[in-house]
Amino acid sequence: MIAGCTSALRGEILFLTLDTRGSSVNVFTPAVALELERELRGGLAAGARAVVLQSAKPGSFVNGVGLLLAASSHTQDAAMERARALRRCYASLADAPVPTIAAIEGNCYGCGLELALTCDYRIARDSYDTQFYMPELRDYAFIPLFGGTQRLPRLLGLRAGMEILLGERLDARGAARIGLIDRLAPESGVGGELRSFLAGLRGRGWQKRAPKTAPVSRPPRLEELPGPERRLARQCVRLARLPFQRGYRLENGLREELESFWRSLGRKESERAMSFFFVRQAAKAHAIGSASYERPRRLALSVAGHTPPLRKLLGILSSRHLPGIDLRRKGSIAFAAARVPGAFTCVLGAGPRTGGDCAVFLPFPDEPAPVIELVPAAEGRPWRRGAPLFQVLEQAGLAPVVTRARERFVSQRLIRAFRDAVGSAPARRGLHEFGYRLPQALADRLRPGGSAHGIAQRVSAALATECVRALDEGELTHPSQADVLAHALFGFPVVHGGLLRYVASRRSASARAAARVLGRTQP
């Protein structure tokens, strides 16, 4: 049975195709890695002059390595053995004696980006769902383990390499601008660009790319990161500096990286951060009935009206290159201005619909991943009718949350609760040290100072209390939605797990209420 990698030798070129069985996205498991290694060895033995690594999943080059494995690995020997099997596959691709090309269509996350980095060349499709992102430090609080800390700074220099390791998200154009990819292919696909690139390689006698290290540059300022992210970031900078040292050898750098990975994985912060992945997916499943990634076949979005938030939304959607999605044509999805200031309604399906299918609120449109709250008009849940809209918004880099708000959006309630909890107290430093990544619009209004133990506890308790109220009133239908809102709106730190679980672990009235909605007794 094939786990997820097949090969075909066409002409002199070996095509390795990733297609994880039974999953909507590619997951790079040890079984897939073994297959890739075997197919590569076979293809090279059969005389391949070049290797192309590609994906058969629409919208996913490789999304991850299988979080279940990482989250449940606590005995070092077994986990190291598994990691070694995967790393052998990376090494065999990096050591292939012929030129290797990653043809990237769809998201290239974490170990997928590290896999693409073992190739000599990278070509990527210019589309909204081809994003480059290293979630390890930012989302899971561990050090990457498949060469990212070595190959990214080597290719891009210390600064740009570290920025990606710290969680900067790039689309294909951004990746081309900084040299992460070599060729940008049109949104129709990488085929044409790949053919011309291979013809060029053939013309030059199938030469491999000569190894080169980018000039060293200054690393980003780590003191600007929220408190809990700094310790790991410092370790990561130490690793990222290695390639610029005299006498550097990649295998030594990779060994140090693996040791750092193991130390970071064993910590509570990482355990809680990984658990947040499940919280996020549970919120999505409760919202639209499925946690999986599905790319709608064709969708028309029409943004009517000229309120500032609508113009912002149109700007965000237009800038993310959504293929197959017509933004102007009146049709399947229409956004129209509503009477509530800052809100608009959305109509799904052809023809006008009184009142719209859902009300939409975009509180902080200037943020890199802005929250968009969707309130369906229909009672039924999950909101399957809204699933294509949710998927498109999510893939366009927004953070959609479905609520059952009645008079005010739940985001508005939470923003009010946040402001009331802060009042006029010094708060900026305290919240930052605790780990909150606040939207600029909120951070700018805070007074400097405050302590992580004082103000951050007060704010967290107030947000949890408001979330519990919204849950009790049925405006939020599952605790995971509260956690996702707190994270997406205020950047509640993943190293503490979800907001409700964090607050429930303390001792106060809000802790008891949070524990109650989570269905657990307090310790």
């Binding site: 279940l68 494995l69 449940s72 077994a78 658990s275 992945f277 499940f278």
Partner: protein
């Protein structure tokens, strides 16, 4: 603690019922207390989210499986039996 097949753990019927929805037909006969949800039943992290939702519906209370996932020593210990035991303890 190893239990014999004759004494299925508490809540095993509920866990089996939820897994039968998620596990491909060919693999369903493998749903035994000792089966590993990764190696034997082929679940991935997204499937675990769906499993959570099904269990919440069956048990009528919130379920948080990351606590179970983090509680084992090795991924091979994520068995059907250990899940049933975790759910019973959290009751």
């Amino acid at each position: 603690m190893v239990r014999s097949r004759r004494h299925d753990p508490e809540l095993f019927p509920e866990v089996r019922q939820a897994l039968q929805v998620l596990v491909p037909k060919k693999l369903r006969k493998r749903i035994t207390p000792q089966a590993s949800i990764l190696a034997d039943l082929g679940l991935d992290s997204l499937k675990v989210v769906e499993l959570t939702m099904l269990l919440e519906k069956l048990l009528g209370r919130p379920v948080f499986l990351p606590e179970w996932i983090a509680s084992v020593e090795d991924p091979g210990d994520l068995t059907v039996e250990s899940l049933a035991r975790f759910l019973a303890e959290k009751r």
